[in-house]
């Protein structure tokens, strides 16, 4: 079209558009990175460079001096979705031997009617975390703690791998007629309770959340009350305590019986 060269400062289209763009960009940068941060007295900046770093979002280590420490032992297990999902055959075999001592309460096949958790088919990460928490003291139980303190890390991994390898057995209390309580399917958003099923199965599963189908109602109820009263506190970031504290006694009863009746 026009014979004039476009990429030349003599072309007014070029010089004007580039000039206006550069001016706007420079002004926005100066205002955003220097003027606005310095204009905020709360930021307590030491100078222009500090203002730029602050506004650009350069991370800085904050002092841990004033932070509040829990006065009890917290869980040191870091949960990821992939954790312990691919166990070796050797680990499962070792776990089978080690699990002999668990059989009296948890059953020879990982299932029992002793109102202790049924471990057959439980996610390995879940079993491992609880064992580790018993060992470190983050979770305390007169029966489990003495077992766990003497286990090595590999022992705990192996036992967890073995139980996750066992097939889930249909619950002896299975009853398909019990309808899912609202708290399981939709939670109670106004009380900040997510649906139980969104972490514990049926809707979805989340890392570290146990499979609850077929667990003893007595056990589930006891744990929810323990979370609510604060006698159990190895849940990471109070996930379960915050939920259990908001649940009514009736809801706790409902979910305990519902899950017991699930396959």
């Amino acid at each position: 079209m026009s014979d004039q060269k476009l990429f030349s400062l003599r072309n007014p289209w070029f010089s004007t558009s580039v000039g206006v763009t550069v001016v706007i960009a420079v002004l926005a940068t100066l205002a955003g990175l220097i003027w606005l941060p310095l204009a905020q007295p709360d930021l307590k900046l030491s100078g222009i460079w500090d203002a730029i770093c602050s506004a650009a979002g350069v991370p800085r280590a904050s002092s841990q001096a004033g932070s509040v420490q829990a006065d009890f032992k917290t869980s040191d297990v870091v949960m990821t979705s992939e954790m312990l999902t691919r166990p070796s055959q050797v680990s499962i075999g070792r776990g089978a031997t080690l699990a002999q001592r668990c059989a009296i309460c948890h059953g020879p096949q990982g299932v029992s009617d002793a109102n202790s958790p049924n471990l057959a088919g439980q996610f390995a990460a879940v079993t491992y975390k609880e064992l580790n928490d018993f060992k470190t003291g983050a979770r305390v139980n007169v029966i489990m703690t003495p077992f766990a303190v003497n286990m090595t890390n590999q022992d705990m991994l192996d036992v967890a791998a073995y139980y996750s390898y066992l097939p889930r057995v249909p619950s002896s209390h299975a009853d398909a007629k019990i309808p899912a309580p609202l708290i399981v399917t939709t939670g109670a958003p106004m009380r900040n309770i997510a649906p139980c099923g969104s972490c514990h199965g049926d809707i979805d599963t989340k890392a570290g959340s146990p499979w609850l189908g077929g667990q003893s109602a007595v056990y589930i109820k006891a744990q929810l009350h323990a979370f609510a009263s604060g006698t159990r506190r190895n849940d990471i970031s109070q996930q379960m305590r915050n939920i259990a504290r908001q649940m009514t006694a009736e809801e706790i009863d409902q979910v305990a019986h519902y899950y017991e009746a699930q396959p």
Binding site: M1, S2, Q4, L6, F7, N11, W13, F14, S17, V18, T21, I24, A25, L27, A28, T29, A31, G32, L33, L36, P37, I52, S54, A55, A56, G57, V58, P59, V78, M79, T80, S81, E82, L182, T185, T186, G187, A188, P189, M190, P195, G197, S198, G201, D202, I203, D204, T205, K206, A207, W211
Partner: protein, 540 residues
């Protein structure tokens, strides 16, 4: 001259078919989370549905419309057959296959991550692979638009590029560049995790990459609408385009400033510094300019048409406009919705005002008004205008008017209460609201109204498909060659700047580097910003 009619029709038919499916899902979503729904349902179905609705409406539907309309513009504005017909078909099939590949895992509940992906949530890899196929298919279109323009310019060195083609190529370049953000996010961040090669993801960086795509994608959706304003509307109402140069400047402004603004979606995100949020806010303000230019030019063009028809007076000319014409009606509705939506947008882009509506239903109301309202109603107009030239059969004007009125009313009834409950603080992305609670019950009436609007939209959508389907059996009629609007003053020569893209693409990339370079570089360098992935729809 339209030669590859089957190619163009295939794009439009697939676009409107998936649009119909997504519209049903949308109406269902409006219903289940409203007080009209008394039964309780698995909330996972809601997220499954939202993922499908968003992925179709956000990625598949507008992309197919832009591609189909782009091919139609290429052939009719450049008056020569499309170069690369086979490639165009390959692009179409990539989009079609990609849509199916993405929707299978979504339907099965394996990828209920919503169409914005939201890492560290990670779903089934097929969902992301499907989305990538859709984008790759559309990139073929981007390349074809560029090749066709270059070939035409070589043959016609002394002619200005026709406005419709200039705008069409502007839209394709904008899409080509803006899709890069989400492509980087999916290919380098999400897919390795979804495939099990890594178990952690930098969710903050992923959100920054997505914001690169997420705002400018709106302008990619918008450009067919603006092309219809400038090159269909004045011709359809028997007028002239007020200014050809103003139109070109508007499209150029979109190319330059639509990109470096996406961080206004991350105003409450901690991983981007406040200074960069301010810079993005400034450029978001600038993107109002091309829209204001457009509103002025289109109203002026309407006034020209009216005065040619004998319209008189300062405002009296408005009544002399051809209101019986569906294109007139659609454009007027579109501009009204654009006005309200744009005003809401100015609130979203203000760092402080955004704080009161961030992550509330206001936002969903806003983008439905802009996209579902102002933009999609012009997609209907484009289809109505183009259809007789593609099928050689006339469409029913009366039914069109009813459909457009219903869409306009439905969209206002849906989105105005939607904005309002957002101001009341109703959060978005939730499947369930307890309307019996005293704090939530004041929102019940507005949400019900919104759901009613959703049903009106559904009826309008059915009518739209009815018009097109009935058109297949209508009597044959010769529609003549497909033409675009003629400007008031036909430019014989125009400056090289308004006839080429080199300078504007350089500014677009330059501003992207200025506004995104540091935040992205910093997050890529920091190792401690990775978090464990949360797999959704995993084993039970």
């Amino acid at each position: 001259m339209l030669i590859n009619k089957r190619l163009i029709l295939a794009h439009f038919w697939l676009a409107f078919a998936v649009f119909g499916v997504a519209l049903v899902l949308g109406a269902w979503q409006m219903f289940v989370r409203s007080p009209l729904n008394a039964w309780h349902f698995n909330p996972e179905f809601y997220y499954r549905s939202v993922t499908a609705h968003g992925s179709i409406m956000g990625y598949v539907f507008p992309t197919l419309v832009a591609m189909g309309f782009g091919y139609a513009i290429t052939e009719s504005a450049l008056e020569k057959p499309l170069i690369g017909r086979r490639w165009a078909w390959a692009g179409f099939w990539l989009v079609a296959v990609g849509a199916v590949v993405a929707m299978v895992p979504v339907s099965l509940g394996w990828a209920s991550v919503l169409y914005t992906f939201y890492p560290p949530m990670v779903g089934n890899p097929l969902y992301y692979i499907g989305v990538v196929l859709v984008v790759v298919g559309s990139w073929i279109w981007v390349a074809l638009m560029s090749i066709n323009l270059a070939a035409w310019k070589r043959d016609n060195p002394d002619k200005p590029v026709p406005l419709a083609m200039f705008a069409n190529v502007a839209g394709s370049y904008l899409w080509g560049w803006t899709a890069v953000g989400a492509a980087l996010e999916i290919i380098f961040q999400i897919l390795p995790v979804a495939l099990g090669l890594r178990s952690t993801i930098d969710a903050g960086l992923a959100r920054v990459f997505f914001s690169w795509t997420l705002h400018a994608i709106v302008y990619f959706w918008l450009i067919p609408t603006y092309i219809a304003y400038y090159s269909i509307f004045p011709r359809a109402i028997g007028g002239r385009l007020y200014s050809d140069a103003m139109a070109r400047i508007s499209f150029i402004l979109f190319v330059v400033v639509a990109m470096p603004i996406g961080v206004h979606h991350l105003f409450t995100d901690p991983q981007v510094g406040a200074g960069f949020k301010f810079m993005h806010s400034v450029f978001t303000g600038l993107v109002a300019l091309p829209t204001l230019l457009t509103v002025f030019t289109i109203c002026a063009s309407a006034e020209i048409a009216s005065r040619l028809r004998g319209g008189r007076g300062a405002f009296g000319w408005v009544s002399a406009l051809p209101w019986q014409n569906p294109i007139m009606l659609a454009t007027a509705f579109s501009l009204v919705m654009l006005g309200f939506g744009g005003a809401g947008g100015l609130i979203n882009m203000s760092y402080q005002l955004d704080a009161s509506i961030h992550n509330t239903q206001w936002i969903t109301g806003h983008f439905h008004l802009i996209f579902g309202g102002a933009i999609v109603i012009m997609y209907f107009a484009i289809a109505y205008d183009l259809w007789p030239h593609l099928t050689g059969r006339a469409l029913d004007f009366g039914l069109m008017r009813t459909q457009l009125w219903l869409w306009f009313i439905g969209m206002i009834v849906t989105t105005f209460p939607w904005h309002y409950v957002g101001i009341l603080g109703m959060p978005r992305r939730m499947a369930f609201y307890d309307y019996s609670n005293a704090a939530v019950s004041p929102q019940a009436f507005s949400v019900t109204m919104s759901a009613v609007g959703g049903f009106i939209l559904l009826i309008s959508g059915v009518l739209f498909l009815t018009v097109l389907i009935r058109g297949q059996w209508a009597a044959s009629s010769e529609a003549g060659a497909y033409r675009f609007s003629v400007p008031l003053h036909m430019p014989a020569r125009i400056p090289a700047a308004l006839n080429s893209f080199g300078l504007w693409l350089a500014l677009m990339i330059g501003l992207t580097v200025v506004n995104y370079g540091y935040p992205i570089a910093q997050l890529m360098v920091l190792k401690e910003t990775n978090v464990p992935a949360v797999y959704v729809g995993a084993g039970r």
